[in-house]
Symmetry: C2
Subunit: 321 residues, 2 copies
């Protein structure tokens, strides 16, 4: 049995708990949270602890699965935990990944632990595909498209606008651009060419809708660089039709080898983004326990982890090769 | 510079030579062939040697890239070469992979070399996808579809029939079955459900076409388990319209995580099967040289090789994660 700690109890933490409970090889030592443990109840009777109580479990936990929400939490907590535990996290701020990798590398190596960072589907599976595609098709450039699916960050950005009660934002890949890239084009694509944004927004009675729409569409980085559609809906309709967290995405590359065109493509279509991300995290938690037991230490991204490690020494040749 | 030997000079060997010549980091020590080296000419002026002359290059060659045609050649030669060289091969008989792995493991470990086996797209990239998909989506079963594309083995099987001058066989995935699998079905599929076979056959004057058609369609293993269409064409038409070696394929899996459906899919579409296979071989030859220089020894399938090794220590986090 692999003894795990789940750190954080939002969507991702709850999904990891459910997967662990349904798996034959995971045992949950506890869920560690910044909320008051006495006020939390698990449907599976899992024990809750305050976040810093985890350090009393030194030597007991095989892998700490970091499921805290915001990027800042992950980096600070990751480095702290890496000194005492093997960890797996889904840190997802691509621009800060190199710095975080360096910090985690140092902490994990000093503590003699093995820490997997940026595990999920992007970063994670998509990172593996981008690298694999660039490796086997060096003349092509891997492209990534996201959606159609809910972006939490963009939804929250809308919710922060005065007069907005709730909102959901869908990122939508542009079909015509996808086709262009599939046929080997796409050298000079900008953000607007690749994706559009669809917003469903519930506002307070008497709110200035045209002002809110304009605030959304002109928001720098989030919406300004894109074609954005804003739909005002009632709160009830929003909760009824837009409460799920589906997502999807594609990594693809086209390139010539010896003058012949070759195309590779990976795609996923998820009815639940947090549940799939949790499934990836738990698969790599299994690999982490296996490789750590073999004596590996330091930080790793998904690119550094051989796929066979997901099966912890089982015969993969007969099953998959 | 990575000094390679190319062993075998068919389609695959020629494609590897062209890629190496066009790359900044490969240098070809020689092409080693069972044919008479004096009768061979390379468009790039590469030196030819008899196959067994390669053992005079012990200590000179970083990686031997095995490009001989038939499966039997690869296994025997692989083990012989593994005692003296790091190797990369595209051995593709799935049923014999475990035995070959054991043999190569022993030879490579004894000789202190690093040998990659089953490198290409299937086995190879498809093996990685099957394992990765099973790892992150344990409730799903990965399915593989091949085509539309030319199967060399099936084409050759037709050519061996009396009265046949030349033939090309296309393996075609069944679109309706693909859709079924994409939507989570497909538990009880047989060979006939997944693929059909299209044959283009040029025969001698006066040959008994209906006898030939019947011999093809009833051929055990090759054609009997499938829906097979046979088209008789003139030799000129066959050479004109069916001389290329395109191929394609899909690995996909659908499964639930915590009650929510999730789908992952990898596909490729190749204008030239041997050129793409060569590109994969050369990418892994680069990884082989890198990992061997770090002291790794033994046999590896693609599942054991982290994707970051394809970039030989370059910063992959900024580029891909």
């Amino acid at each position: 049995m692999i003894k795990i700690a789940i750190v954080g109890y939002g969507n991702l933490g709850r999904a990891c708990e459910k997967i662990a409970v349904g798996s034959k090889d995971f045992e949950i030592a506890g869920i560690f949270t910044r909320r008051n443990p006495a006020e939390l109840v698990s449907p599976y009777g899992t024990a809750f602890f305050r976040q810093d109580e985890i350090f009393g479990f030194d030597g007991v936990i095989d892998v700490a699965v970091i499921c805290t929400g915001s990027a800042n939490d992950v980096t600070e907590l990751g480095v702290k935990l890496a000194r005492s535990f093997n960890t797996v996290d889904s840190f997802d701020t691509h621009a800060r990944m190199s710095t975080y990798y360096a910090d985690m590398s140092r902490a994990a190596s000093n503590g003699g632990h093995l820490c997997f960072i940026g595990i999920g589907w992007d970063p994670g599976l998509f990172s593996v595909m981008r690298a694999l595609f660039a490796g086997v098709l060096p003349s092509g450039a891997p492209y990534t498209f996201w959606g159609r699916g809910v972006s939490q960050g963009h939804s929250e950005a809308i919710r922060r606008i005065d007069g907005v009660i709730d909102a959901k934002q869908y990122t939508v890949p542009k079909a015509e651009t996808l086709e262009l890239v599939r046929s080997g084009g796409g050298e000079k694509l900008c953000d607007r060419d690749k994706h559009s944004r669809e917003c469903y927004v519930a506002v307070e009675d008497g709110a200035d809708k045209s002002l809110i729409e304009s605030k959304i569409k002109t928001m720098p980085n989030y919406f300004e660089p894109y074609d954005t559609a804003v739909h005002f809906v009632g709160l009830e309709e929003l909760r009824k039709n837009h409460s799920e967290m589906p997502h999807a995405g594609i990594v693809l590359s086209s390139g010539e080898v010896n003058g012949k065109m070759q195309r590779v493509e990976f795609s996923l279509k998820l009815d639940s983004n947090p549940d799939f991300t949790a499934s990836v995290l738990m698969a790599y938690a299994r690999a982490n326990a296996y490789l750590a037991a073999k004596g590996e230490t330091g930080a790793r991204t998904a690119l550094d982890i051989p796929v066979s490690a997901l099966f912890a020494g089982d015969d993969v040749i007969k099953r998959f090769v």
